[in-house]
Homo-oligomer: 301 residues x 2
């Protein structure tokens, strides 16, 4: 079943203890689409400026991502982000950000994408997320992400968006800020009261947590030792999770758990290189190998 | 098989967002012994001052803990700790500490305890840990804890102690400080180079990690929502872990994993009350119930 993602396409400059890269391919929609494409067909919606070389999307097209929803906007410039990671690299420090095209109106959703059944609305203004959602009325599963900026500055708009979506994926700091609860299980339950049927709380190097009306699931991270650059890790986690769900065509308890396990494994691949390099190289066989290893690493009697 | 613990017996004053308690029973040996006593017979070695009411150890004696290694030292005063927790309560801030009897010489290990096969040396000066270890030459399994103070100020002594022990239990910050590695799997492997056959790295609300020559195990925490006071959580985790190992009489890969699962579950009970209240009320049936629930909460396909 087709999966649609709306999100950013950007050029990143990233500094980590392992080195620095400049103007590399990044953005939430890019990481999400590449990760999801390991499991299903993906439709991508996003906007770039006329400074963007569309050839950069080659690796996505090779993996079957439909990029016909990528708008090249005349007179605009592409989103650029400059971030830095230190220490355990759990959080990025933004050195500089140029929203450029992202600060303008949202890209249109092509007519031939309107029948998408599975949808991920990557982080952006909650009003834009709602505008996207309203154009995707045939979606069986709408999942969104958000960030501190909107939780703090657009709480009412965000609440309206949360009433529309079926799932919310966010990190632990965001979950605490959104709900005012420090305990993450309690925070997850509070999120369910805001609308979503499930909340996936990402804990960086500590894995993730699923809270839904009928489940509580603890997903440890696949423990890679080679953490080069965590950029895109969360969006890739979401991409693999939703990609697997779409590939199964529906959402039950076991599928959501299995999907998060794929998310955890794919996120572990992403962090092993700068930009999308490791994600482009990733194979289903490697995902399966890590999945089996992870299942073994959490087993006890 | 008998399990011996050396550690502190103290009177704690603790402030958390849930309230304040004063001069309640605490100390690493107390939490460890109570937790371990859910699984095996425990021998406790520690010193208190003449201000200590031995009646306070009643709950330990009821659970079969042999307290004949508790020295009441004339002219000395009992260890007192005053700590405060805020936010997610992952770390205590020490408001005040009076080492009192702990700053003097170590208590003797009674002759009838010298044949102990399983031993836990709770956090203290690494020279004292070594003196204890040398008196317990029949131990099949020697495990110790440590803290930042010794890692920073007694690195050589600590290294000597680590060459003597079979296992090290410590928290993630200590593991990073000891090894200079931010990645916890890498830190665990570095610890193995210092002597121990296994390292258990505790991550507070995020669970724990086992690194040994033949295993890598991810232990998520039992997700309690009722976190009242985390004091003693780490020592109780160690107590239940070692208690289970001692009850099985030996240490293989599956036993160590199963033991850590018991540790995780018992730690989740400890945090649900101040002091040792919840630990004293804990039953094997409740431990088994949580174990089954935890196994279900980490399962994926």
């Amino acid at each position: 079943m087709s999966l649609l993602v709306t999100g950013s396409i950007g050029l990143d400059t990233v500094q980590t203890p392992h080195g620095t890269v400049s103007d590399v391919l990044g953005g939430s929609a890019v990481y999400f689409a590449l990760a999801a494409s390991l499991f299903t067909r993906v439709r991508m919606v996003g906007a770039v400026g006329e400074d963007f070389d569309l050839g950069r999307l080659g690796p996505l097209i090779e993996r079957g991502v439909d990029t016909s929803g990528v708008e090249v906007r005349r007179g605009s410039r592409t989103f650029r982000w400059h971030g830095r990671y230190a220490g355990a690299m759990n959080e990025a420090e933004t050195v500089d950000v140029k929203l450029n095209v992202l600060a303008e109106h949202a890209p249109p959703i092509p007519t031939h994408f309107r029948d998408s059944r599975f949808v991920f609305l990557a982080n952006t203004h909650p009003v834009l997320q709602r505008q996207f959602a309203e154009q995707l009325s045939r979606a069986d599963l709408l999942v969104c992400d958000t960030m501190n900026l909107w939780i703090e500055n657009q709480p009412e708009e965000l609440r309206r968006t949360l009433r529309l979506v079926h799932g919310l994926v966010l990190n632990e700091g965001e979950a605490r800020l959104l709900t005012g609860k420090t305990n993450l299980v309690t925070a997850g339950r509070e999120i369910l009261r805001l609308g979503p049927r499930f909340a996936i709380i990402k804990k960086g190097e500590h894995g993730s947590l699923l809270v839904s009306a009928d489940d509580l699931f603890l997903m440890p991270p696949y423990p890679t030792e080679q953490v080069v650059d965590p950029t895109g890790c969360g969006d890739s986690f979401a991409g693999a999770t939703l990609g697997y769900i779409a590939s199964r065509g529906g959402l039950d308890r076991a599928t959501l758990r299995a999907a998060m396990a794929r998310g955890s494994v794919v996120a572990s691949l992403v962090v092993e290189s700068f930009s999308v390099d490791a994600l482009c190289r990733a194979t289903s066989a490697e995902v399966e190998r890590r999945l089996a290893a992870l299942a073994e690493m959490v087993h006890f009697e």
